[in-house]
Structures are given as structure tokens and as C-alpha cells.
Amino acid sequence: MTAAPGGRLPPAYLAAGSSSFTDFVAAHDPSLLPHRRPLPPGTSLDAPHGTTIVTVSFDGGVVMAGDRRATMGNIIANRDMEKVFATDEYSAVGIAGTAGIAIELVRLFQVELEHYEKIEGTLMSLEGKANRLASMIRSNLGLAMQGLSVVPLFAGYDLQRGTGRIFSYDVTGGCYEEHDHHGVGSGSLFARGSMKKTWRPGLDRDGAVRVAVEALYDAADDDSATGGPDLSRRIWPTIVSLDADGAVFRSDEEVAGVVTAVVAEREGNPGGGPR
């Protein structure tokens, strides 16, 4: 952090301006932002990648779940990484892509939302949050073109409407609202197929958690980069629910119960179809 001579707060601190933390950092110390660092030209490098994230909506909210695996080529880089983050009291981000950059972006996004809350004295609207995240992903395009892409999934509880909403992104920062359910990451094709069959309107929160766990099971079944249920190590998927109660991580006991039930039901019936 640079300080003006004499320890005085530098002019950027006292400048009247936006309530965006990112804009302030860009003006004051851009090297702290992931996309402002020059990269040497060259080929892509091996870095840990996060994999599958799913979101499932239910009546009055939305559930986001992610597996715990990070891979580096054919190696499992980390088996208990958290890839679903609460970003404020009513929203959460799940990340797929280069883990290091994604986690840095999430931290920046968390500070961005809290900073806005403190300066403005009010919460940002859900669409405002989704758009701020889009602009962060957009500014990461240079890194994405070198293979360090980040594709988040954003979900939150809309205080105005009283419903959960899901937003997906592409590497260029395009932000699209999704309905009912969605998934990102390498296992998302299989997860989405699974959710098409198991999701139905009018689910409650527990039902949505079940659908998410089934989808992660199906993703891990066919995608080597997605971590399956790890009963021996007792590593469970990260699951957060977003509704009028705010962002609440489901407890290990609760998730363990659901995962164990799903695994038991799939015994002798690996596809999970009706018997």
C-alpha cells in the first residue's frame, strides 16, 4: 500500500467519487487488481481448476452447491477446496475455472459489496450485484485469453421480489438470468441433464438440496474432474441456501445425511432412475 509523504492519506482516499471499491483500487493501486498485472507472453500454464457448481431454485429461494475437487491436468490438486462463497447476506458465488484467480475475484467482489453497503448505508440491489460481477469478469478477459478464465455462477435472494434468482456468465462478462436451475464447470453438462429430470416446480428447500446433491453425483459419475461423494474422508459438497433467512451454509450433518441417502439409493441403480 502506498502512502503519501508524511503518512497523510493519499488524495485518492479523499477524492469525492464512486462507492465502488474496485474503482477506488484501480485509481489508487491498480497492481492489486488481478487483471491489471502484466502477464509474460507465452503458452498457457498448469494451474488448479475448480469444476462443477449447480444452483437449484425452490419456492422463495435458491440453493447453490459445489463439489470440493480442484484438478491440475490429470492430478487432483485439492480435494476439499471450497468453491461456493457467500458474498454478502443475500448472495453467493460459485466458481469454475482457474482457482487462484477465481478466489481473488470473489474476495474482491465480497469487499466490493461490503464497501458499497458501508459507504451508501444500504444494500445493493441483486441486479446491481450481478452487474458488478459481470464487469469484473469482463475486465478479466485478457487473462481468460491466456487460458486463465473464470466462469462464476451467481445466485441471490431478491429482497424486492421475495424470490431466489440465478445469473450465469460467460468469459466475456455476458450476464444471463437463468430460470429454475443451472450449472457451470466441466461436469455441468451431466449435472444439467440430471436436474432436468429431478427438478420440479414447487420444491421446498430440502427438496432443492436433494436435487443439487443428485446433480453433483451424476456429474462426478461421468466427469473425472468433479469430486464424487467421499464417504471415507467425510468430505461433503458445499451447499448454501439463499432465502429470506439470508445466506446460510447447510451444516455438515445435514449434507452428510442427504449424500449418504443418495449414495444408498444409487446402490444397484447407478442412474438413479425410477425402479
Binding site: 479523499l14 471499491f21 492489486l32
Partner: protein, 280 residues
């Protein structure tokens, strides 16, 4: 015909500037910051619900000010930027009131000497510790002087009589109810604009606390029925509830509506890899 003098002694220059700043500050109502058994309370006479004199800076740090609104608002925003940037580039636990007070002191000191006009503000930066002994309260004046205060601080127009009364009547370990009642009674004696004792009601007050017992973001404003109950002598309420208000929306204000809500993420750490409590 009068002419501009060629030489003004530094003593005279500083005195003129100090008098100017003091006059500006004395026009406003006072703010009282005082410790209680479970934290630090901020009490200001402020009928506005939107233009705050007391604000959150960071997890355990709050800011209170008197004087010119645009100037202290400028300093408040700078403080939030300082704290958030420091927390982002280091860790949340590395943001301290002492660091912020030093940065403010340098800024106020430089402005006092170099700019054409000093800031007409007086501010308090307070950090709540895990015990009352670890609480820190720094008072900064327009010329950049810093004082490390113990227990209580009064700023603003009629600070001296209130300070005098607090030195006799404040003691460590007061409950929040007693501390607020005392502060409000003394603010009502604020000599600005008449000597009659005024009864200040919840509508004219801005009250906030840094609650030692809350995890992570400890700053809460107190309003509505909860403030009435805390100020009432007949009501047994003497501290803020441990849970935030029920109902969806921002949870930085406590009004006493406390049907239990879920765990709020305000209470979790923000390091993405350790965002859940260890025992979860």
C-alpha cells in the same frame, strides 16, 4: 485605509486557524462516546435519519464526528477506503483503529497547516476489544492532535460541562441501558441555545454500539422500540439482543424485532477458504 500586514507571526497564524476551527465545531450539538460492559456506545443528538454522525468503518471499528458534515463525511469515506483496502491486501485482523487514527492525524495536521482553511471537525475512532480493557478510543481534533481516551469522550459545542459530569458519574462496567440514559440526560443539558433541561426522545437521537459479543461486524445502530426500552427507567431491557432483527433486509439496525433468524453471513469470516466457523 487598512493594509495587509507583511508579517504574521506563526503563533498568531496558528491561533487564528484554531479559533476559526473551534468556532465552527462549537456551533454543532455534542456527541458522546462511552464504554459499557459489553462494548462502546455512541450517542448523538441528530434528528436526521440519513445524514449520520456515527458510522461503521470496519468489523470492530466505528467513527463519530462533529462539525462540518461535508468535511467529516469526506474523512469517513476515506476511513472506509483505508480499512477495506488494508483488509483486502492483508487480512481483516490487520485493520486497527490505531493505524486509522494515525492516518487521520497526519491528514488533519497537514490540512491544518497547508490548506487555506482547516477542517472544522472533531472525530473519534473507536475499536472494541475482547475485554473492556482492550477497548481503544482515539479522539482527533482539527489540528491533527490525537488523544488516547479511556472510558468516554465528549465532542462538540458544549463538551466541557458534559465531560465534567461524566468524570463524576461514568464508571467502568455500566450496562448499556444506564450508559445511554446517562448520555442522553447530559446531552439534554447541552447549553447550546438555552439552559433549560431538554428531554431528548428517541426521534432526536442517533444511537449506535460496537457490541463486543458479536462476531465479525460488531457495529449496530439502535432505533425504534428497542431504543425506547433501553432509555426507559421502568423497562428491564439493559443490553442489545444477541440476535439481529428478523425479516429480510439490511441488518445493521436493531429495533427489537427479534424472532430468530438464520445465521447471518455478517458473522462469518470473509477469507473465502475459512468462511465457515471451525466447528460447523
Amino acid at each position: 485605509m487598512t493594509s495587509m500586514p507583511f508579517y504574521v507571526s506563526p503563533e498568531q497564524l496558528m491561533k487564528d486557524r484554531a479559533d476559526f476551527a473551534r468556532k465552527g465545531i462549537a456551533r454543532g450539538r455534542s456527541v458522546v462516546v462511552l464504554g459499557y460492559d459489553h462494548g462502546i456506545a455512541f450517542v448523538a443528538e441528530n434528528p436526521s435519519r440519513a445524514l449520520h454522525k456515527v458510522s461503521e468503518i470496519y468489523d470492530r471499528i466505528a467513527f463519530a464526528a462533529v462539525g462540518k458534515y461535508n468535511e467529516f463525511e469526506n474523512l469517513r469515506v476515506a476511513g472506509v477506503r483505508y480499512a477495506d483496502l488494508r483488509g483486502y491486501s492483508y487480512d481483516r485482523s490487520d485493520v486497527t483503529a490505531r493505524g486509522l487514527a494515525n492516518a487521520y492525524a497526519q491528514t488533519l495536521g497537514t490540512v491544518f497547516i497547508q490548506e487555506s482553511k482547516p477542517y472544522e471537525v472533531e472525530i473519534v475512532v473507536a475499536e472494541v476489544g475482547t475485554t473492556a480493557e482492550e477497548d481503544q478510543i482515539y479522539r482527533l481534533t482539527y489540528d491533527g492532535s490525537v488523544a488516547d481516551e479511556h472510558g468516554y469522550v465528549v465532542m462538540g459545542g458544549a463538551a466541557e460541562p458534559i465531560d465534567q459530569a461524566l468524570s463524576e458519574r461514568w464508571h467502568p462496567g455500566m450496562t448499556l441501558g444506564d450508559a445511554l440514559t446517562l448520555a442522553v440526560e447530559l446531552l439534554g443539558k447541552d447549553g447550546n441555545g438555552g439552559d433549560a433541561d431538554r428531554q431528548l426522545g428517541p426521534a432526536q437521537l442517533e444511537v449506535a454500539v460496537l457490541d463486543r459479543n458479536r462476531p465479525r461486524r460488531t457495529f449496530r445502530r439502535i432505533a425504534g422500540p428497542l431504543l425506547e426500552r433501553l432509555l426507559s427507567r421502568d423497562d428491564p431491557t439493559s443490553d442489545v439482543p444477541t440476535v439481529d432483527d428478523a425479516g429480510p433486509g439490511p441488518h445493521d439496525v436493531l429495533t427489537g424485532d427479534t424472532s430468530v433468524t438464520g445465521d447471518s453471513t455478517r458473522e462469518a469470516a470473509t477469507n473465502p477458504q475459512t468462511q465457515r466457523p471451525e466447528d460447523a
